[in-house]
């Protein structure tokens, strides 16, 4: 009996976990634009307070989706352009917008780690600045 209670409680805990699931490239679809996620250097993902997973093929999709939804997100991650496949917390990332960056949905956006020396260069935004920019 005790075992069952333990199982039940642990299931409850698992169900509410806000741990981000890894993106399966080439198979998962973007929750905003429905495109299949293939680019490891532009992907983004978030997990809501209640543990619902959202995956995006581009940073601009995550921005637009969050603007439409009222859901509170516990985790927000973006791909590190310099290390494709690795995800960064949005608060630990700097964002560059430049026409030479061909992100999947035409936002010309890429994220870099703040630890990256290049991130100090001009034309960069923090997540908060970017959110304001997309609201316009």
């Amino acid at each position: 009996m005790k075992n069952y209670i333990f199982l039940f409680v642990s299931l409850l805990l698992v169900a509410c976990s806000t741990e981000p699931e890894p993106i399966v490239y080439g198979s998962d679809a973007c929750d905003f634009c429905e495109m299949t996620i293939v680019d490891k250097e532009f992907a983004a993902q978030s997990v809501s307070d209640k543990g619902k997973q959202f995956k995006y093929d581009a940073i601009e999709c995550m921005l637009n989706d969050h603007l439409q939804k009222d859901t509170k997100m516990a985790v927000k991650l973006v791909a590190n352009f310099h290390d494709p496949g690795k995800m960064l917390e949005v608060d630990h990332a700097k964002f560059v917008q430049n026409d030479s960056i061909n992100s999947p949905m035409g936002g010309h956006l890429a994220a870099f780690s703040t630890k990256n020396p290049q991130a100090k260069k001009a034309g960069i935004y923090t997540w908060q600045e970017l959110q304001l920019k997309f609201k316009e």
């Binding site: 998962d28 679809a29 299949t36 490891k40």
Partner: protein
């Protein structure tokens, strides 16, 4: 006198028509392609004999050349950047085999890169193990035909597109075969172009992908077993005719994905064995005429905000769901379609069923809200549920129906 005349003619032929022919082979005087290009003048023909040429970053700048490969000479870029890049008017590239183009996540390396060019032909080339196959930037009025592009995007999950056009107008893409890239054909800001007779298979994402492209036509293409068949996004005035979408299976898989597209027409297309044949989101004023939907999970799944779409004389054959619907009904009209699931009768024998057909099942409404419910698909309870909903619609839109369902299949 006659001899003198012949000599004069020959003399003129050599000097007046200054277009000369340059031969490239391993044992020739000119043994590298780049050297031949540097040596050539406007209007020359370069004939490349078969053999393996380990060259990359070959450049043609502002020279109108005709390059012909004999028996598919191989250009091996040895995984170092772009193989051949061209910026010129009036040129043609024919019969080359280009392999091993470098991969990168910051730069777009291609087998053949064309930029700022006009009036060109890229014919019957073979490209294998490439990052991008044929990449066009800011170039107009060209033909890309008969090329065969293959790569290994599925196993690498990192690849460029087979034929990639950006900021380009009036291009014809015909009879190419593209297997195993990211998108078979990708168009971004491409207007007034025609895509016909291509075969796109086993591509990681889409067979054909439109982004922000208007007034294009695609006809008679086959899209098989891609991540999804075709995606038309943020575009208008697109004509889709005679295409064959088949075997796009998987949770994120569609035969055709329409997103934010208006004023377009789908005619005589065949959708066969797709998880979702057409997924439409934010599509307005689209005409669906005489298409076949055969053995799909969903034939048409309409998501929110689709206005004034018109379905006429389509065949809906043996799909699990004919129409899936989320949101409200927005002025979409169904008339004179053939539905294999129609169980009505035709007493006056005019070929049109006497009772309207409601293509949205209650169960599809449930599945839309709770996708996991799909495991109940063939259960008796669901059949009862659907039947009771059919008799008195409560959840499904009451006026979404075909009031003139055909008794016989439309043949076209």
């Amino acid at each position: 006198m006659e001899r003198l005349f012949i000599i004069l003619v020959l003399f003129l032929a050599v000097f007046a028509g200054h277009a000369s022919e340059i031969e490239v082979c391993k044992t020739c005087e000119i043994s590298s392609i780049q050297k031949a290009i540097d040596f050539a003048e406007d209007g020359d023909l370069i004939r490349i004999k078969s053999g393996i040429y380990k060259e990359n970053g070959i450049q043609i700048l502002n020279k109108s050349l005709k390059i012909i490969g004999e028996n598919y000479p191989v250009i091996d870029a040895e995984m170092q950047g772009t193989a051949l890049s061209i910026s010129a008017n009036n040129f043609s590239i024919e019969g080359l085999k280009i392999i091993n183009v470098g991969k990168s996540h910051t730069e777009e390396f291609a087998g053949i890169l064309v930029s700022q060019s006009r009036n060109f032909k890229i014919l019957n080339n073979k490209l294998d193990n490439v990052f991008f196959g044929i990449l066009l930037e800011k170039s107009n009025e060209g033909v890309i035909s008969g090329n065969h592009i293959t790569s290994n995007a599925r196993s690498q999950s990192n690849s460029g597109n087979g034929i990639h056009l950006w900021n380009t107008n009036k291009v014809e893409i015909r009879n190419n075969k593209i297997v195993g890239l990211r998108d078979g054909i990708y168009l971004e800001f491409v207007n007034n172009s025609e895509i016909s007779g291509n075969f796109c298979k086993d591509n990681l994402r889409y067979g054909l992908h439109f982004m922000f492209s208007d007034e294009d036509i695609y006809t008679d293409n086959i899209f098989e077993n891609n991540g999804a068949g075709v995606a038309v996004m943020y575009s208008k005035f697109i004509e889709m005719r005679g295409n064959h979408f088949r075997k796009n299976w998987g949770s994120a898989s569609y035969g055709l994905l329409l997103k934010e597209i208006t004023d377009s027409k789908l005619e005589n297309n065949i959708f066969e064995e797709n998880t979702i044949a057409i997924s439409a989101d934010n599509t307005n004023r689209i005409e669906y005429l005489k298409n076949d939907f055969k053995n799909n999970g969903y034939a048409v799944r309409i998501r929110g905000a689709c206005y004034d779409n018109f379905f006429k004389e389509n065949n809906f054959l043996y799909n699990s769901f004919d129409i899936g619907y989320t949101g409200r009904l927005n002025n979409n009209e169904f008339t004179e379609n053939y539905w294999s699931a129609y169980t009505g009768y035709d007493l006056d024998k005019n070929g049109i069923g006497d009772v309207p057909y409601r293509p949205v099942k209650l169960f599809s409404y449930l599945v839309n809200r709770t996708p996991e419910a799909i495991i109940l698909l063939r259960s008796l309870f669901i059949d009862l549920l659907d039947f009771s909903e059919k008799v008195s619609p409560v959840f499904t839109p009451a006026n979404l129906m075909d009031s003139q369902p055909l008794m016989k299949k439309v043949s076209w």
